[in-house]
Structure formats: C-alpha cells, structure tokens
Symmetry: C2
Subunit: 237 residues, 2 copies
C-alpha cells in the first residue's frame, strides 16, 4: 500500500511450533496494526533458539519500519529473546541497575547469577513504562519486545499504539453468490484498471456451496469507491 509504514512479527516459542499452544497474538497484532494503517509484511515463527531468533530478526529488522517480537521474555532457560535481539542488532548486553532493583522489590529475587542475567538489556534500549505498569517493556531500536501471554500483549500494545499510527487504509468488500472462476474476467479487468487498489478474493465453502468475498483496500477512499462501482457494474450486482 502506498506510503504505509511496514511491520514484521517474530513469534518465538517452541510450544507454538509443536502445536502444544495455539498462537493468539498474530491475529490480534495484524488486525490492530492494519487498523492503524501499518502493513504487516511478514510473520516468522521460530523456536526458543538464540541462533534461529537472531537469523529471523536480521532478515526483517532493516526492511520494516517496526518489528514486534512475542515470547521468550521470562526467566527460564528457554527465554533467550533479549540476548538474541542484542546480537541481531549488534549491541552489547549491559547491566540495568533499575531492572535489578525491580526484580528484587517486585519478585523478591535474591542477588545471584539469575538476577544478574535477568537485569541485562541491549545497550541503548528504552525501558518503557505504560501507565500503571510495574515492570517496563523493552524497546530496542525499531524492535518492540512483548511477552507471549496474549492478555499482556494486548495491554502493552494498547499503551504503545499511538506510536505506530500511519495513513488510514479504507476497505470495502463485496460478497458474491458465485465461484471465483465465474467472476474471473470482470475481476481481472478491474484489478488492471485500479493498480493502487489492492484486491483480495476469498472463496468460502459452506454446505458444499462455494461463494466468494472480494475485498478492496487503498489509502485513497475515492479509488476504493470507484473500483467497487466498476466491479458492481461489470458483475451486474
């Protein structure tokens, strides 16, 4: 879409790749970002392996305006996201005295290698405190680190949403009681007439019957309306 900021999601967690847990964050984040006028271009799921996470981040970090990670933010052996983000962005891990204090006061974590490990952050990271939050969110360059728990992703994202607001995208849709093959020629004609409108065609099967939903998206509302009118005229609906 013309002029829209772009985003990538890096979804981290072996539990999602083995089907033990069903991801709920992709649906939420893609919908929210699109409503803000941000185009999610890629989503990558990787397991809790530092090398795999680094590789995924390096693939997306320079090519998208915003990158969101979910998962791998807890205290256990399989939580390696912070270290992976530091490595992918070529930043050192540095000690955060304020995080170390929080780990002690909030969670009673005693001094030792675990508290030390959990208080390291990539150099230059922002510690963002949403209103009412006790524990900060990490932001490193254009990478926003979210935990995996869907309820926490939602509350943290809402607190940040204004940072991502782009040009609104207008959407129209048209439900047709026909098959994709039946509408192929008129649809192709309209697609070629309106190159700045994005057309989607989604067949549905219910009770053995195929129907189709067409979607039209663009940042220019007038283009969407014109394209929809032409489509309706050619399809005689």
């Amino acid at each position: 879409m013309v002029n829209c900021p772009t985003a990538a999601l890096v979804i981290i967690g072996q539990e999602l790749l083995s089907g033990k847990v069903k991801d709920e964050n992709v649906g939420y984040l893609t919908q929210q970002l699109y409503a803000l006028g941000v185009e999610v271009k890629r989503v990558l799921f990787v397991c809790d392996d530092e090398g795999d996470i680094v590789e995924a981040l390096r693939w997306v970090v320079d090519r998208h305006d915003h990158v969101f990670t979910t998962g791998g933010m807890g205290p256990t052996h399989d939580d390696v996201t912070v270290a992976a983000v530091a490595q992918a962005l070529d930043r050192r891990l540095v000690h955060s005295p304020s995080l170390e204090r929080l780990l002690e006061t909030l969670y009673g974590l005693q001094s030792g290698p675990e508290r030390f490990r959990l208080s390291r952050i990539p150099e230059g990271a922002e510690l963002f405190y949403p209103e009412g939050a006790r524990y900060p969110q990490l932001i490193v360059g254009n990478v926003f680190l979210f935990p995996g728990v869907p309820a926490i992703v939602r509350s943290k994202f809402e607190a940040l949403a204004d940072r991502f607001r782009g040009t609104p995208i207008f959407t129209e849709f048209l439900d047709l009681d026909r098959t994709e093959l039946e509408i192929l020629a008129p649809l192709t004609a309209v697609v070629e007439t309106y190159p700045r409108v994005r057309f989607g065609s989604y067949p549905r099967y219910e009770g053995g019957k195929e129907t189709v939903r067409l979607t039209l998206d663009a940042t220019d509302e007038a283009h969407v309306r014109e394209a929809l009118e032409l489509l309706q005229r050619l399809l005689k609906v």
Copy 2:
C-alpha cells in the same frame, strides 16, 4: 530433537497479514506434524507477492526435510503460489494437458489465457490424487502445495500423512501451582542434567494468579521419565 525430520510452513495470503482472516492452518499442521514425529522449525507468513513468496521459500527449502505452503492456489490475480514455487526451485513452468482437461470437465473453463495459466505446473511436479479427490494436489520436490481453506488442508494432509512419519516424540507435562521464578533453580539443574530432553516452561495467568506448566519432550521415552522423576523430587511434588 535428535534424528527427527524437520519441516517449515509458508503461509501465503494478504488476508492473514491484515487480520481480515485468522489463520487456522498453523495450529493444525504443527500439531499433526509433531504427532507424526516431525519438527516444524519455522513458520513464515507472506503476502500474495511472487517475490516475497520466492524469498521465503528459498530461505527454508534446502534446510528442512519438508516444506508446506498454504494459500494462493486459486484462479484469481492474487494466486501466484505455483509460479513462485517454480521460481524458488529453479524449475520451468510447463503445460499440463491432464490439468487442462480437468479444468474443462470439472469447472467448464473454456479454452483461453486463464485456462492456459491455471494448467501450468513446475517441471517435474507430482500430481497427487488422494482417494476420492477429483482435483490433484501439487508436490514439487520437498514442497507440498496446499490451498488456504482449512477444511481442504485437513483432508489433503490426512491423505499424505504417512509420507511424513518420523520417530515418535514422547511428551510429559507437569502443572505447578508456583511461579516460574520459584522453580527456576531446580528446573535449570534438571535441564542441564538431561541435554537430550527438551524442556518447556509456560506461565499461565488466571484470576490474577500465576501458575506454570512444564513440558518434557524427547524421542527416548526413558529419558523423559527419568527427567520427570528428578524434577518432581527436586520440586518436592
């Protein structure tokens, strides 16, 4: 996991990246493959752009035993998966007379550029007919092309499942009425004692209370049982 065949999923469709449609295939495919003893290492969502699909495929095709694509298999302008697979695997697109006949007899598609385009397949592709299927599934090298519609993915995958059977993976789990921080030391000790067991730690929040589920996976059942016993002993449960 030692000796397990690996897989990657390439999930194609702008509707999933804009949150218009919620993906249902990742949850199904990861669960089925894991149950068969196949490790899904990566999942990539990309939009209906031939270049983006080619890039995603090239990233995964040589590094995994099996690659599954979903989406982009219909007849409209945004269905470019077949061409992208051909390009990613450096194969020419060739004309399939048998597909062209099917397009005519099954769907009444008249001779013309659309029928010609839809009857092209990557050179050397296998046309696989599951029992009872009227239209074949495309298999190109280690890439299995599925449509996006979840019900069809399920029936087609079931017909192919036996091709992917690996060594079964044994799983145990342990639900604890504690936080991750409270179990950190014993968990870390057991993780270090059993390097061939994969341990997962998943916090849950219900009614403001944190609990945790630990999972233990390995192809060697005895290792899983021993590790679980040690964990229970150290955690005194």
